[in-house]
Symmetry: C2
């Protein structure tokens, strides 16, 4: 295999994460247990779920008192009113609420189903919210892992989102640290010497998608190492991938 290949390596040795866990320490140990040695410019992709769990974003549904609006919507669509209440609380805006699906803009600016709230792969009777600030979570992990491992990593916090027009979910990047979320070819020549005008690739989303391929069923592999992706270290931010409402034709 060539030297310019990319490797997508599952980190299979993480325990089930609890609120308050030191994720960087657990990742360091899992890398050792899996026999993986980090190099500069490796990229770590983490499923949002483990970050949210470590940050205490698991909510017991018994503590949630649904509003009348949440109760009505839930009863109409056969959903749990307490989950719908959480969705309404976490949403900055409802984009669509049809066919039993609620598409929201979260307070972070992500447009996704159910404000990104998960009730699968969590303990019974609980719901899991997105991290408060995925970019800050990514940057904190990047800094801590840099100190522990002695190498500059990129960190991506990912989640699976649906999208218009196409069936199936794909992994996207919510939080990004240590690399630019895009590769911008504007102004560079194409294969025929013509200047490229429009080509900005959302590489952080593509890295997140690539990582999902080894995360597998039931999220048993919530951490993935990507080696060999050519990039320059950069501050980076997942927010750069959010299209401004006035530039968006589909809200």
């Amino acid at each position: 295999m060539g030297s310019s290949e990319i490797r997508i390596v599952p980190i299979t040795c993480l325990p089930e994460i609890q609120a308050g866990d030191q994720l960087a320490a657990l990742i360091e140990r899992a890398l050792v247990d899996c026999g993986l040695r980090i190099r500069d410019s490796d990229i770590l992709v983490l499923a949002q779920k483990v970050v949210s769990k470590a940050e205490g974003r698991l909510v017991p549904l018994a503590a949630i008192e649904p509003s009348r609006r949440a109760r009505e919507w839930a009863s109409e669509h056969g959903r749990d009113a307490r989950v719908i209440e959480l969705v309404f609380r976490e949403a900055k805006q409802l984009i669509r609420a049809e066919q039993g699906v609620i598409i929201t803009e979260t307070r972070h600016g992500f447009i996704c189903a159910n404000a990104g709230i998960d009730t699968s792969n969590v303990p019974p009777g609980c719901a899991l919210l997105l991290p408060e600030d995925p970019d800050a979570s990514a940057e904190r992990l990047r800094a801590e892992l840099g100190l522990r491992l002695g190498h500059d990593l990129g960190v991506i916090i990912s989640d699976t989102f649906g999208r218009p027009w196409r069936e199936g979910l794909v992994n996207v990047a919510l939080g990004v640290a240590g690399l630019s979320p895009v590769t911008d070819y504007r102004g560079t020549p194409d294969a025929f010497g013509k200047c490229l005008k429009m080509t900005v690739i959302a590489t952080a989303d593509e890295l997140a998608a690539a990582a999902e391929l080894v995360m597998g069923k039931a999220n048993r592999v919530p951490a993935v190492l990507i080696r060999g992706f050519e990039h320059e270290p950069a501050q980076g931010s997942g927010k750069e991938l959010l299209r401004r409402a006035d530039r968006d034709l589909f809200r």
Copy 2:
């Protein structure tokens, strides 16, 4: 590195493709030149451009007579009227035409900018149309490569599309052969034993996205080998990834 890792390997030895080229023969030679030996369940991702070029989908713009509607739209938005004419011809439906952007549903059912017509990485004065039937192209290549190489490959024909809500383009799967385009976890238990209800992952799109990471600037690497992705051989089809209009909240 673990045995369950995925490798994304650029096939760097393909020549510039011309109309009528036998793509399977050129890929076979490129694999040899790159020192790559195919195994069963390897997946080949090909940029749509090389497939379209081999299939003679390059159109000299001098031969295109734009309609009055195309001339008006082009003049209003500073575009080439002959390209806009091609976009109108290739589109089954205009989804949006605002802010100088034309989002179309192509006759295949893809929703994308400019009916997928490219004017970059093509000879000057030309535009490149999508393949007539990307699934048929993928199946033909799968069958020919199977005979030549003696192994069952999956084949994905990919292109970079924009999407609502998020900045940047990502690679998606237009044509698929030899593998299912989705991984369907519905009915399987999550990590806590709860039945997953909604989880269908568009793995062909994630494989296409992963491949883009080594395709790079100016599409110099239009073919990528993916090794180690766990899947069962299946007929497969890119059409399965197209959401039916009546199930789509964003048209």
